[in-house]
Amino acid sequence: MGPFKLNDIPHINELPAIGEEFRDTKIEKHTSSLKERSEKSSKLLPSIREAIIATGLRDGMTISFHHHFRNGDYVLNMVMDEIAAMGIKNLTLAPSSLLEIHEPLIEHIKNGVIKRIETSGMRGELATAISHGLMEYPVVFRSHGGRAYAIETRRMRIDVAFLGAPSCDPFGNANGYSRENDNGVICGSMGYAKCDAQYANKVVIITDNIVPFPNAPFGIPESDVDFIVEVDKIGDPSGIMSGATRYTKNPKELIIAECAANVIEASGKLTDGFSIQMGTGGASLAVTRFLESKMQQKGIKASFALGGITGSMVSLFEKGLIKKLLDVQSFDLDAARSLINNRFHQQISASYYASPGNPGSAVNQLDIVVLSALEIDTDFNVNVLTGSDGVIRGAIGGHCDTAAGASLTIVVCPLCRGRIPTIVKSVNTITTPGKTVDVIVTEQGVAVNPRRPELEETLRKNGIEVCSSQELQEKAEKMVGIPKPIRYTDKIVGIVTYRDGSVIDVIRQVEEE
C-alpha cells in the first residue's frame, strides 16, 4: 500500500466500472434502526396520485398491470381513475389480461385516456364494446409467452407497471401471499407480474398489506421496485380465487376426460418421469382424476406439472404422484396454500413458463398438455378468443405456447355446446395453429391430426377408436345444423399475434343487429 495515483495504474482507461479516487466524505453512515428505516422508506408514497407523479407518467406512455386478481381486481380501475383525473391521455394499456370487472375502461377509452390496448384477452362489456368498434386502434392480443417475449426483446416497452400485491415490505419485496401476515387476500403466484417488474422503466407496487422486511419468500424482489402505495383494498378475495376447483359432475365432461386419459395412456407417453399441464375447464381438469388411477396402477410419477395450478394438481403432488409444481398462476386457494407450504411448489415467471425466446422454457419440456377450446376446425386450428357470435370473450392465455411446446397436445371439448357446434369447418379466429395440435377428444369420438400418422397408428394399436376431424364436424352439423354466418364490417378491431409476434389472424368488428 501507500499513496498512489490513478494514472499510475496500467490500462486504467480500459478497465470498466472504475471511478475516481475514494473519499469518505462522499459516504453516509446510517444509525437508525430497522424499524425506523422501515417507517421512513423512501419508496413508500402516500397515494396513487403521488406515485403516478413520481414515475413521471405522461401522455402517450405505456402502462401495465397483471391479472392475478382475476375478477376481484380493484387495482387497475383504481389507478386508471386516478390517471384520468390527472388529465393524462393517449396511453397504451398493456395488462397481462382483462376481465369483466374492467368494464370502466370503456369510459377511459371514450375520453381519450387510453389510446391502445395490448392484452392476452378480455371479457364482458368491454370486450363487447371493442368488438363493436369502440377503439380506433386495433387491440393487440398476445399469449402469455408471446407477451413475455415482446417485453424481453423490448418490442413492447413498459414505462410504468402498476402491480397489485397481497403483501409487500417497505422496500418492495412483494408476493401473492404472506407467510406471517396473511390478511385474507391472496393470489398465490405472481408469475405474470414478474416480467413487468423486471423490465418496466418504473414499478409501483400497490398493496393493502405492508409487512415487515424481509417479506420472504418474495415473488417480486425489492431491486425491481421503485415505489409502494398502501391502499384500503386491492381486491375482493372471493373474486380473486375460489376455495377449490371442484371436479365436474357433468357426465359428458367425465366421458371426455376419461377418454382423454385413455388417449394419453395409449400414446405411450405415460411413463415414469413424464411432465404435464392441464388447461382450465371441467373436462381438462377431470383428466387428472383418471390419470391418477392409471399412475397408481403403473407405479409411476410425473417429474413436474406446469401452468395454472389447481387443487387437483396439488392433490396429486401431495400424494407423491407429481414431484414438482411449476406455478405461473394459482387458480384456487388450494393451489395458493400449497405454494405457501410446499418447498417443491415453485413460483415461475411468464418468461420461464412460455417465452419462445427461451429454449429452456417450461412449456418446451412438456410431454403432455390437455387444453380446452371454444372452437376447433377440421384442420385442427383452435379459437379460444371469440365466441360463435364473433364477439371477443376469451383469452389466448398459454394455449398456443403449450400447444407448441408439448410433444402431445390434446384438445378436449364437447362436439356441440347447446346449439353451437364446437368442431367447425373453419374457426372464427385462429389463436393456436393446427400444426401444433395433435388430438381432438370429444364425447363423440377422437380425431388425430393427419400430420401425425405415427401417433394415429399408435393410438389405434392400443385400442383407441380414431375417426377424422371431418367426421366429427359432419356429426356436429347433423345435430345442430349450419349456423348462420356472422356478419362483420371491414374494420379490424383486434390483431391476434402468435408467440413470436407474427400476425396469425385478425378480429373484425361485428355488425350491429
Binding site: K249, P251, K252, L254, I255, L415, C416, G418, E443, Q444, K478, M479
Partner: protein, 289 residues
C-alpha cells in the same frame, strides 16, 4: 336402461355416448303437461334423424287413459323405436289395448305387424298382484319393470336404503317374468350422488335375478355394469365347465365332473349365461386376446 326426459334436446342428442345398453326416452312423468307435444315431436325427430347405433331404443308413452297415449303412439310407432314402454300397468288389458293401437298404426304406416316390441312398467299394488297376467298378456312383451316410486306411495310407505318394502314386488315381478320367459328390469335409484347405495341396491337385485336396472343419471351406468359384468373368475370357471362338457362329449362319458364336483344341467345353463354376458359386455373378447 338410461332414462332421458323427452323434452331435453341436449340429453336426447347424446344419450347414446354413455354406454347404457338401452335408452328410454320419456314422454310421461318427466315431461310437464305443457311440454307433452314438444317432447313427442323432439323424440320423433331424434329417432328418425339421429343414429343411436346398436342401442336399444325405448319410448315411455303416456297411458291411454290420460288421453295422450294415442297421440304418443301415432307419432312414436312411426319413428320405429325398438320398444314402447307402458307406464302404470295394472291389468293385462292395459297391454292388449295398447297392442291393438300399435298394430293399427303399424298397418297404417306400412310397418310389419309385430315389429314394435313392448315393455310394461308395474307401479302399483294391483299391478304387482297381476304381474303374471301382465307378463303373459302379449307376444310383443319383452320385459316387465318395477316402478318403485309410485308403488311405495300406493303402499303408503316410502323407499328405505335396504329396500325391504320392495321385496314382495321384486319377487313377484321376477317370478312373473321368468315364468313368461321375458326380462325383469329393476327400478331407478334416485339418489344420484350416493354411489355406495346404488352399488348395494344393484348387487341385491342382480342376486335376486333381475336382468338389469334403470338409471336416471349417466354416472350410474358404469357402477351397474361393473356389477352385472361377470368377473374373470366366473368367466374362467364357466369356460372350464364348457370345456369339461366338450371333453365328456368327445369321450362319450355320461357323468361329467369338474374338480370333483358333478356338473348338471343348471350349472351348464348358468355357465352359458355367464359367457353370453361376458361376450356382450366385451370382457370375454379382452380375455381371449
Amino acid at each position: 336402461m338410461l332414462f332421458v326426459p323427452g323434452n331435453n334436446p341436449g340429453m336426447i342428442q347424446d344419450a347414446y355416448i354413455y354406454g347404457s345398453d338401452s335408452i328410454m326416452f320419456d314422454l310421461e312423468d318427466s315431461v310437464s303437461v305443457g311440454e307433452k307435444d314438444s317432447a313427442r315431436c323432439l323424440v320423433y325427430e331424434a329417432l328418425t334423424n339421429l343414429d343411436y347405433g346398436t342401442k336399444e331404443t325405448v319410448v315411455r308413452i303416456n297411458s291411454l287413459e290420460s288421453g295422450l297415449g294415442i297421440s304418443d303412439l301415432e307419432a312414436i310407432v312411426r319413428a320405429r323405436p325398438n320398444v314402447i314402454r307402458l307406464p302404470k300397468t295394472e291389468f293385462a288389458a292395459d297391454v292388449t289395448d295398447c297392442e291393438k293401437e300399435i298394430e293399427r298404426i303399424e298397418k297404417k304406416a306400412g310397418i310389419a305387424v309385430g315389429t314394435t316390441k313392448m315393455m310394461a312398467a308395474i307401479e302399483s299394488a294391483i299391478g304387482v298382484l297381476n304381474a303374471k297376467e301382465i307378463a303373459f298378456s302379449s307376444k310383443r312383451l319383452i320385459g316387465i319393470a318395477l316402478g318403485a316410486e309410485d308403488y311405495v306411495t300406493n303402499l303408503k310407505t316410502n323407499r328405505s336404503p335396504e329396500g325391504t318394502e320392495l321385496m314382495f314386488a321384486r319377487s313377484m315381478i321376477l317370478h312373473a317374468a321368468r315364468a313368461a320367459g321375458i326380462a325383469a328390469i329393476d327400478t331407478v335409484y334416485s339418489d344420484v350422488n350416493n354411489e355406495e347405495g346404488l352399488i348395494a341396491e344393484a348387487t341385491l337385485i342382480k342376486h335376486l335375478g333381475f336382468d338389469g336396472k334403470s338409471v336416471i343419471n349417466p354416472r350410474q351406468i358404469a357402477p351397474i355394469h361393473k356389477i352385472f359384468t361377470p368377473t374373470e373368475k366366473d368367466i374362467k370357471k364357466s369356460m372350464a365347465i364348457m370345456e369339461a362338457i366338450a371333453e365328456a362329449n368327445r369321450k362319450g362319458s355320461g357323468v361329467i365332473a369338474l374338480n370333483g364336483k358333478m356338473i348338471d344341467k343348471p350349472i351348464v345353463e348358468r355357465a352359458k349365461w355367464v359367457l353370453k354376458l361376458a361376450r356382450v359386455s366385451g370382457v370375454l373378447k379382452d380375455m381371449e386376446e
